[in-house]
Symmetry: C2
Subunit: 368 residues, 2 copies
């Protein structure tokens, strides 16, 4: 079964963007990052976990076979360029995520031999696992993909993913096991994942791009290039993780407390104000390495029908926490009227931002 | 502080109604009831907890003073008639709820002396509590309101509310305490509430209408008119409550397990399939008294920006549970493709129904 998520209309997304003031929508495909020091925002469109594949104009089959439909359910290069330009005019950078070696089922549809064939006993089961890190063709493919990414995305960062890799399929495959032996990895598949990630981080560096990777890569493999930015998505222990990562000298993005696709009843935006990204055990130098946070709206349960009301104004709360003086914005009760006013402003501009609580907007009376 | 909820555009609601097949939207203002025996649906627009007040054309101040705005944030009689007619053409009945004695803060704005003045020590505090059940003017007002309701709503049922009455304000008021003494109620304010509810249920009967009330009224006061329909909203103990109410010979509506305004992450529509409204301790005769269920989408966090995606297709799951053979629809996994297909049908008709999970709709390829 393909793990496609939802495809978003780029045009819809663009039309729905509040102009100039706030960061742009995100979801499984579009994930937004917001830095507080510089007060600008970055979008992470995730083209790989999702249904939308970046379509290379001249090699379309290769990238579009995994899409729900090769004409209607892909993002073309010109779609992407429109997004980047629209964002650029508003001071927003676009950083794509191409998440491997896991979350790549849709890639496998267009790229034979990219994914690891899973085995049942001595025979292939017919299903596929993560990218196969044991064959040269994988690295050739990744290099050509990253070159194309560099061509399409001007930003100096690229997110390489690296999260949630299941080892069961690798373990079932005799070629992978042979490779493990040859490399002296024993039974430790985290070493195999690290080997793969190190290769694509090096490729990325050779293309003069800086890698961002999910925390899994650091958790498995502490010796990763110093300038790689690490991103935290696991909620339970993020303060300890911040401490460890910055101690190792890495810059860090914090996303765990802002997974706002995890909805709950009531005013859950209040949680955003309780987050203190620099409140962990470490030196002042370490604190400075926490360069920002990211609001995530993963798209398992979100598409164009509910993206805007689910995202706004809940993302605004995270934005205020990241962009404003923490001391002055800790109190969620005091934040409430500010957010309420801003939500009315979004409505007035045509963004379907959901209500924070009972009430109404003053502009509803305008002209009466 | 006024406890106004959100006002819905009647026009929007009407335009967004799926035609002919499914029950119509609901929320704090519009709550939908679905009966499974008769396979028709009923809407409960709740005009009293909410911001929208039924506007009497010739006595407008009286009803509109509690609205956010007397022109833009009210439902007029002709709005209501359009809703009723639109619903009628689709086999849907509209039953209004006028919830008292609690949830009436907005009524107090237009109707002096209707609400109980709360006291702080020996002096009025300036705030108001539930309807004042100790003065004649209250009953005169309720009678004229119910007469108007009868004129506007043709259905034979009317929902009188009766839930969540706080006694603190009544207790603080010296006139109420004197009345309690005179009536021999002691310190038991549930008796005072029962006295009030009994009066308005009798009024309703005299107007040839059948009352629906929330479970609170039964919980406080078991001797209520036999033909009154009781509705269950408290989630924890609804099976025991079903048992008690039907043992007392009352017809019952079950809403507790379908409070779908209480959102959570993931496929919470699955819960609807686990509900067995007639699975409680009682005779076959008692089971027959459970005449239906109601999906509730109370509007504290819902308005026109998010009503449709939050309601659909989640309400469809409850509809199937209530309208289809329970034995044949217990399995939520088997229900998934049915719901998914129906959700695509809603999308095709222009209803912004949110996704059930990752995926796409076949009609997105039509004509390609």
């Amino acid at each position: 079964r393909n793990v496609h998520k939802h495809v978003f209309s780029v045009l819809l997304a663009l039309c729905r963007t509040p102009k100039g003031t706030w960061p742009w929508g995100k979801n499984k495909n579009f994930v937004m990052e917001m830095r507080w020091h510089e007060k600008f925002s970055i979008i992470f469109p995730d083209f790989t976990k999702g249904s939308g594949l970046l379509m290379s104009e001249n090699k379309s089959n290769r990238y579009t076979s995994g899409a729900f439909h090769p004409f209607t359910h892909v993002y073309t290069q010109s779609d992407v360029m429109r997004v980047i330009e629209h964002a650029r005019m508003r001071g927003i950078r676009v950083i794509p995520e191409f998440d491997s070696p896991g979350h790549t089922q849709s890639w496998g549809k267009g790229q034979p031999n990219l994914l690891t064939p899973c085995y049942k006993g001595d025979v292939p089961s017919g299903s596929f696992g993560p990218v196969d890190p044991t064959v040269d063709t994988t690295y050739k493919f990744m290099e050509s993909l990253l070159k194309e990414v560099k061509f399409v995305f001007p930003d100096s960062y690229v997110h390489l993913g690296g999260d949630e890799v299941s080892f069961a399929c690798w373990q079932s495959n005799p070629n992978v096991r042979t490779f493990m032996e040859k490399m002296g990895f024993g039974k430790d598949f985290t070493k195999l994942e690290s080997f793969y990630m190190e290769s694509i981080m090096n490729m990325t560096a050779a293309l003069n791009r800086t890698s961002v990777v999910w925390q899994d890569v650091f958790d498995y493999h502490e010796r990763i290039p110093q300038d790689t930015v690490l991103e935290i998505w696991k909620g339970e222990t993020y303060q300890a993780e911040l401490s460890r990562m910055t101690k190792a000298g890495h810059r860090v993005l914090l996303s765990a407390p802002w997974y706002i696709n995890h909805i709950s009843y009531g005013q859950d935006w209040r949680n955003s104000y309780a987050v203190q990204p620099q409140n962990f055990s470490g030196t002042e130098e370490q604190k400075k390495l926490v360069i920002g946070g990211e609001v995530a709206m993963w798209g398992e349960y979100v598409d164009a029908t509910n993206l805007n009301p689910r995202l706004w104004p809940r993302a605004c709360a995270a934005a205020e926490r990241l962009w404003s003086d923490e001391e002055k914005t800790m109190n969620a009760d005091l934040a409430f009227p500010r957010l309420e006013k801003f939500r009315c402003e979004l409505l007035r501009r045509g963004i379907q931002a959901e209500p924070l609580f009972v009430g109404h907007c003053k502009h509803e009376y305008d002209g009466l």
